[in-house]
Amino acid sequence: MRISRTTLSEPKGADRVSEGTLGYFRSRNKHRAYSLVIQEFKRSGLTQADLARRLGKGTDIVCRWLGSPGNWTLDTMSDLLFAISGAEAGYTTKYPLAVSAYMSMSTMSVGNGAVSNISSQTSTDHAARRDEWVVPTIDPGADKDPIKVEVEPYLTRLAA
């Protein structure tokens, strides 16, 4: 069983978005940007020294950038992507909380075996889905009982 007691809500009206929510999505955004750049770097076959030369930076700086997205700016990401392979980031918007809420509701109601259904349904249009879902609101620190979200076949995989 996988659990999460956190349910973050999408922004509503003029309500202030919580710092916790912002922090979580900043972290998520950094990791996703990092994945994109490092996948490009691995595909390129470049060495860190090559990349440093292309950027006119010290190897230590480039090495640090490739180690973590912690202190990246948008310019860092742009510089890295372009210097690695002449690439730029392609931007699309996603609504992960809407998907998350949907996944939780699906798995809680359908139970075992629901995971495969999720994959096929998360790609449907966000706007169309939004009307169908009730997006839970955050209730930090209220009920600390774990909510069982979905059945996870990982133990089976691990033992296989």
């Binding site: 069983m1 659990i3 956190t6 180690g67 990982y154 133990l155």
Partner: protein, 174 residues
């Protein structure tokens, strides 16, 4: 050396009572890694709270654990004494113990989360602490806490051990 089969069997015993598999807040359709957490870690990262600076740090830490589960690319260092200061996952000294550190760098001074693998892409997060709580040379105390917690839960079983990083992880960079 414990096998993934024996570790999985033990994990099944512990799950729901002492260890919980953490679900990402915003999961990707096909998360490809798994993290089990102790109550100590669970209470730190879940639920994400809106409050003070500490809560903000915890939410970034939760972001790190979810990045692991959501199969984001991660940087790894195998040498505890020669690692990039920003590396995401680092082996802990002494390496024979097979403990690893998930390192949340932002916001400064960051947080550390120690645990061991139970299979490829399957990590058990045992303890966590704020980086400023241990100066260089004081890390051993944290490792000792980790070792004690592992023993409490897994007894004589040892963490999963592999010949190369590929045995522990997919989608990583050294």
């Amino acid at each position: 050396m414990s096998t993934p089969e024996t570790l999985a069997a033990k994990l099944a015993e512990l799950e729901g009572r002492h260890l919980w598999q953490l679900a990402p807040i915003a999961p990707e359709p096909d998360p490809n890694r798994a993290v089990w957490v102790t109550l100590e870690v669970l209470d730190t990262v879940d639920p994400v709270q809106d409050g003070n600076w500490v809560d903000y740090r915890h939410s970034e830490f939760r972001g790190s654990l979810d990045a692991f589960t959501n199969w984001e690319m991660i940087s790894v260092s195998e040498n505890p004494f020669a690692k990039d200061r920003d590396t995401f996952l680092a082996r802990v000294h002494p390496v024979e113990l097979e403990f690893w550190d998930i390192r949340t760098i932002q916001p400064p001074q960051g947080m550390r989360c120690l645990g061991g693998f139970v299979g490829c892409d399957a990590f058990v997060a045992l303890i966590c602490d704020y980086r400023e709580n241990f100066e260089p040379g004081q890390f051993d105390g944290l490792v000792e806490r980790c070792r004690a917690r592992w023993r409490e839960l897994f007894g004589e079983l040892t963490p999963y051990s592999g010949d190369s990083l590929d045995a522990y992880l997919t989608n990583y960079i050294v």
